[in-house]
């Protein structure tokens, strides 16, 4: 085994440390090819009579085991094969659990998915307090479930309710958090990891009880909820109900997780394991999981690109970022920059009070993390010190990038560009956070079009994962590379699109929202429209979204798109009527929904005076499927236009942009994956039928008429 993935290092009398190192990759993952080696190792350990203590650790400097190898999962074609793989992992973990010596997993770096399931088979776990250490079972995020016994062992370790939550959300825990939950027995500084693991085994030898999760009171609570039939019914029914509210049945993995944990609890572990393996088999080949895995790979491939065709172009080092405008967007961009990217920000607003509100907003975001214990007061202070406020352009001379987030107005943005170019020193990169104004039009006002670019963030910036970088014909390649790198440092998934009215995201969202407005003016009830799209898989309905972004903003974007694309994008007249009625949405608490005293548990009610205003009789007659189809096909068709016109460089960018920027259902993989799944011909037929009925806005895009496949 000398040149295999495992190295055995005898430490003291009866103590051996097993080091894992998959030398073929930078991280340890679990692969099918390793099964033989694992089997050999475990067999040897089963025969072993000398060792009393076995410590398992990773020889990689930065990771334990990051999970099962996803390429392997992706290659599995049949459910039976996936099920067999799960059963193999389960059997291996079983054998580890039964080993005679005391076994301890010493965890530093990510220990996720299959890696954590592996560690759960040990008698104890010791983790390093290093920030790189993360423990969790994130399978659900890929439409899967833990299939190496995780659904059975985690509830046993940390209690059923906590395990349900952890597996259903896929949350990753720090070592301290995992220690509090009882998942690890000790959390120590990295340097002490092996020492602590050996000592931990020693304690177990001496009969000292291992750390048990929770207080006596919490364990009693766990018994109340899962130790008896009545409590179990309550717990699982509740979990199922809550899950359904979120998934609306679109994510089978969540339901299976609840089912499998319940089976194990009610019928014993062996039944639970069998159910786990069977469920895994079904899920691996499910279209939902396939699409989620596709997104995962697409996101990863984006991370390795610099945003331009020439991979040799290197981004410039960003020493300081200037942000113009301290509103929600500006403050959000500043926050992402000082926090994730750790780059100093000079935040400018012409208005002192506005500047103060922006700083207070950033402070509020950080303080919330303080409350969640994911930040110390000192860390907050250091992060906050990176942003300095100003009402003039002092401190802008040495900004590498200036991002403007002022009001959506071409003249104002042009003025910002001219002012920034005149602050002295070398002109910085000027990035506009406009959501619809063509970047080229802004660049016209300045003297350095090669340094003008769009960085379109989504609101709220601290939550929304997408950044759409918008490039004109004049933008210099190094400028693109710099902004892509900056966005990635800010923690964003970055797509690069070509300049044009509404770029990609706003342009595709426009017709989708517009169709919802059409439906409303035809008399379809506000909440019915939203309900239909929530069922389809969107995280928020178009009507609620319109209230969020502001009806006036939506109307303005719609008019911009109409001017650019003509009758195809003709907005509904009713929108203007709503704006004229001073119905702006959430910001003035008067929109499509009612504002005022609301509770979290009950959804908002639609504002029925809207119907009077639009002079329609609301009804609930139209089928959800019909509503969703009309809206979604508008979005899909416009995405196809963007690809055909070269706004998008690839279908992959379009899918990522739609999923992360527009909330397109992830389990459908994005508009182009959706086209592939349904078939272009079928979509074209539907579009043509709708065009017959509702007019030219449904005319299929040329790309769809080509009847092609977007992915191989």
């Amino acid at each position: 085994m000398a040149d295999g993935i495992f190295q055995l290092e005898p430490r003291a009398e009866g103590v051996t440390v097993i080091w894992m190192d998959d030398t073929s990759a930078s991280v340890n993952t679990l692969k099918e090819e390793m099964i033989a080696e694992f089997d050999e190792l475990i067999s040897a350990l089963e025969q072993d009579t000398e060792n009393r203590t076995l410590v398992f650790a990773s020889a990689k400097p930065g990771n334990f085991i990051v999970g099962a190898n996803l390429d392997m999962i992706r290659r599995i074609e049949r459910a039976e094969a996936a099920r067999a793989l799960a059963e193999t992992a389960q059997a291996m973990h079983d054998r580890i659990e039964k080993l005679r010596p005391v076994t301890v997993a010493a965890i530093h770096g990510p220990c996720l998915g299959g890696g954590l399931e592996f560690a759960l088979a040990f008698d104890a776990r010791v983790a390093s307090t290093d920030p790189a250490t993360r423990l969790g079972l994130p399978e659900v995020q890929l439409g899967l479930l833990p299939a190496g016994g995780g659904t059975q062992r985690l509830p046993a370790r940390i209690g059923t309710a906590a395990a349900l939550e952890a597996i259903l959300t896929g949350r990753r825990w720090s070592a301290e958090r995992a220690y509090r939950a009882g998942l690890v027995d000790e959390a120590v500084p990295r340097e002490l990891l092996i020492k602590a693991a050996i000592r931990c085994a020693g304690d177990i030898h001496k009969g000292r009880s291992r750390r048990r999760w929770g207080t006596r009171f919490q364990r009693f609570g766990n018994w109340l909820l899962s130790g008896n039939a009545l409590g179990r019914k309550l717990l699982f029914d509740q979990a199922a109900r809550r899950t359904f509210v979120k998934t609306r049945g679109n994510y089978p993995a969540a339901e299976k997780i609840i089912e499998v944990i319940r089976t194990g609890l009610e019928q014993g572990t062996s039944q639970g394991l069998a159910a786990e393996a069977a469920a895994f088999g079904d899920l691996v080949v499910s279209p939902e999981s396939r699409q989620l895995v596709n997104i995962f790979f697409a996101t990863n491939s984006l991370k390795n690109e610099n945003g331009i065709d020439d991979p040799g172009i290197k981004p410039a080092a960003v020493k300081k970022v200037g942000v113009l405008g301290a509103g929600l967007m500006g403050a959000g961009i500043a926050y992402a920059t000082i926090d994730r990217a750790q780059i100093p920000v000079r935040l400018k607003d012409k208005d002192r009070a506005g500047l103060g509100r922006g700083l207070a907003y950033i402070n509020k975001l950080l303080s919330a993390r303080l409350g969640r214990r994911s930040l110390t007061p000192l860390q907050r202070e250091h992060i906050l010190a990176r942003v300095t406020p100003t009402t003039d352009y002092s401190g802008f001379e040495n900004c590498t990038v200036v991002i403007e987030a002022v009001y959506e107005n071409l003249e104002l943005k042009q003025q910002m560009l001219r002012e920034v170019e005149n602050t002295g020193g070398q002109a910085p990169i000027f990035a506009s956070n406009t959501s619809a104004i063509p970047i080229g039009n802004i660049a016209d006002a300045g003297g350095h079009p090669e340094r003008v670019i769009g960085m379109h963030y989504f609101s709220p910036v601290e939550k929304m994962p997408l950044l759409e970088v918008v490039v004109t014909d004049n933008t210099a390649p190094w400028v693109v590379a710099t902004c892509v790198a900056l966005g990635r440092k800010q923690g964003k998934t970055v797509i690069v699109v070509h300049d044009g009215p509404g770029f990609f995201t706003t342009r595709t969202l426009g017709p989708y929202m517009s169709e919802a407005a059409h439906l409303l003016s035809e008399g379809v009830a506000i909440d019915r429209v939203d309900e239909a799209l929530l069922n389809f898989g969107f995280a928020i309905g178009p009507m609620a979204l319109l209230d969020e972004v502001g009806i006036d903003v939506g109307n303005k974007v719609a008019r911009t798109l109409f001017e650019a694309f003509g009758d195809r994008m003709k907005p509904v007249d009713s929108m203007q009527g709503l704006v004229d009625d001073q119905r702006l949405g959430k910001k003035n608490k008067k929109g499509l929904y009612l504002y005022g005293h609301t509770s979290k548990s009950r959804p908002r009610k639609a504002d029925s005076t809207v119907y009077e205003l639009l002079n329609v009789e609301p009804n609930n007659m139209m089928a959800h499927g019909v509503i969703a189809e009309r809206c979604v096909l508008q979005l899909v068709n416009e995405a196809a236009h963007c690809l055909g016109e070269g706004i998008l460089k690839s279908s992959r960018d379009g899918d990522i942009g739609a999923v992360f920027g527009l909330g397109f259902p992830p389990f459908l993989g994005g508009p182009f994956r959706y086209l592939d799944a349904c078939g272009c011909a079928a979509i074209r037929a539907r579009l043509e039928a709708l065009a017959e009925q509702y007019g030219e806005r449904f005319t299929p895009a040329p790309v769809i008429k080509q009847d092609k496949k977007f992915y191989n």
């Binding site: 020493k319 100093p344 500047l355 103060g356 700083l359 207070a360 010190a385 002092s394 401190g395 020193g425």
Partner: protein
């Protein structure tokens, strides 16, 4: 100009071309009344925001800063080395050296002088000096017997023994002691010293009030004219992040008659020193960027001015504690090879109107020169058109450690405005100390 004979480590002097100590930039927070706008910020936080803003305004990469010398007068038990706190909290690299200085009201004269000396010596070529003070954040101390009992109790076990430690604590010991503006080495508090000087030098109430009134009128006028823009930054005070942008002690509508109505504070019967003609307890911070001249030019930065000379003096605090300016000024002028008449702008720290007027009287007095300074001629005649013309510590406020750098910055800006060449800043300080600095406009 061969001003600075640079002393090499081996004691030889080298050619000082382009090696003058330049003050490249400066900024201060607004000076605000104790317990008002800046009250939530401890001195170290005031120092952080002002140093951070200074760097932003110069556009200098923080990596260029080699040393921060910073000061604070009211002791902060939680943060004994404020300079280091400022470095680590203002976004400067951790590799920037830092130490703290305390010289009462002349603290930021000393931080600036120390930095200048390090630059002249050649140890460094770029650093930040200044000081911060929060009169709103003062350490309240326990009485000695109570502190001792608490210490003893913490060292023993068992409730009985712990309680026993408090046996000797009396009722009166429980009251915490607020800090007083006095020192163990002197019989007089600051105010009492000012009162004594007014008495012995014959400075009457009317002239004190008039001087204070003049200070407020000057400050108010200059705020209105925008003179302080560019010197004073806005501080956004957490958690509300309300902007504090202006000195809030200045009374632009100062009315001389109202001064007469105030009661004396330190000698209620015969005294002349009132809240109106004294500097108030103030929160605030200031910072200066110092560089060797050639280094500044290499970085493309235009200096505001240069440090020509400086001097410190010390006298018996039980005589006239706040006469330091009259002792330090002639030495600094001599070192510069200049006279008081050469000074286009003079800023004397206004601890009390009585102290300023005692000093100006001494400046002009042949007898004072002869008896106290052992000089045949007086220091010089005060030209009131050049003396404290844009407001001083009485009207602008006096955050102890921040005042010196405030004076230096304000004087350099005033020189620029008047197209003058030479400026003098001088201050008295507790313990009978004095400081004076001669500045040259660029």
């Amino acid at each position: 100009m061969a001003d600075y004979p640079k002393l090499n480590a081996d004691g030889t002097k080298s050619d000082p071309g382009g090696r003058r100590v330049a003050i490249v930039a400066g900024v201060r927070t607004p000076f605000t009344k104790q317990g008002t706008a800046l009250a939530p910020l401890p001195a170290r936080d005031l120092g952080k925001v002002v140093v951070s803003e200074l760097l932003q305004r110069t556009g200098l990469d923080p990596g260029n800063i080699e040393q921060v010398v910073y000061g604070q007068v009211i002791p902060a038990p939680m943060a004994p080395n404020i300079a280091r706190e400022v470095v680590l909290g203002a976004g400067l690299p951790a590799s920037v050296d830092a130490y703290s200085v305390s010289r009462a009201c002349a603290t930021s004269y000393q931080t600036t002088a120390n930095l200048a000396e390090s630059i002249m010596y050649g140890g460094i070529s770029c650093g930040i000096s200044g000081g911060a003070e929060s009169a709103s954040d003062v350490p309240i101390t326990l009485s000695k017997p109570l502190a001792w009992a608490l210490l003893q109790a913490s060292k023993t076990r068992g409730l009985g023994r712990r309680l026993a430690a408090f046996k000797k604590v009396r009722m009166g010991d429980i009251v915490p002691e607020p800090p007083a503006l006095r020192e163990p080495s002197s019989d007089y508090s600051m105010g009492e010293a000012a009162e004594k000087m007014a008495r012995e030098n014959g400075i009457n109430r009317g002239s004190q009030d008039e001087f204070a009134h003049r200070s407020h009128v000057n400050a108010g006028k200059n705020w209105a004219e925008g003179f302080f823009e560019g010197q004073v930054m806005c501080v956004f005070v957490p958690e509300e992040y309300q902007a504090a942008c202006n000195d809030n002690l200045v009374r632009p509508d100062s009315n001389l008659e109202k001064y007469a109505r105030l009661k004396p504070v330190f000698d209620r019967r015969y005294g002349t020193v009132t809240a109106g003609n004294s500097s108030p307890l103030t929160d605030g911070a200031s910072a200066l960027l110092l560089m060797r001249e050639d280094r500044a030019r290499a970085e493309g930065l235009a200096p505001l001015g240069f440090i020509k000379s400086y001097a410190f003096a010390a006298i018996d605090p039980n005589w006239q504690m706040l006469m330091g300016p009259s002792f330090a000024t002639p030495v600094a002028l001599d070192r510069a090879g200049l006279t008081l008449a050469d000074m286009d702008v003079i800023d004397m720290h206004e601890a009390f109107a009585a102290q300023v007027l005692s000093n100006t009287q001494a400046f002009e007095s042949s007898r004072f020169a002869r008896e106290k300074l052992n000089r045949s001629h007086p220091i010089g005649t005060i030209d009131w058109e050049r003396f404290n013309i844009s407001g001083g510590s009485i009207s602008l406020g006096h955050p102890f450690a921040a005042t010196g750098a405030r004076q230096i910055l304000q004087t350099l800006k005033e020189l620029k405005r008047r197209n003058g060449q030479w400026g003098l800043c001088t201050a008295c300080a507790a313990g009978g100390l004095g400081a004076a600095m001669v500045l040259e406009s660029s």
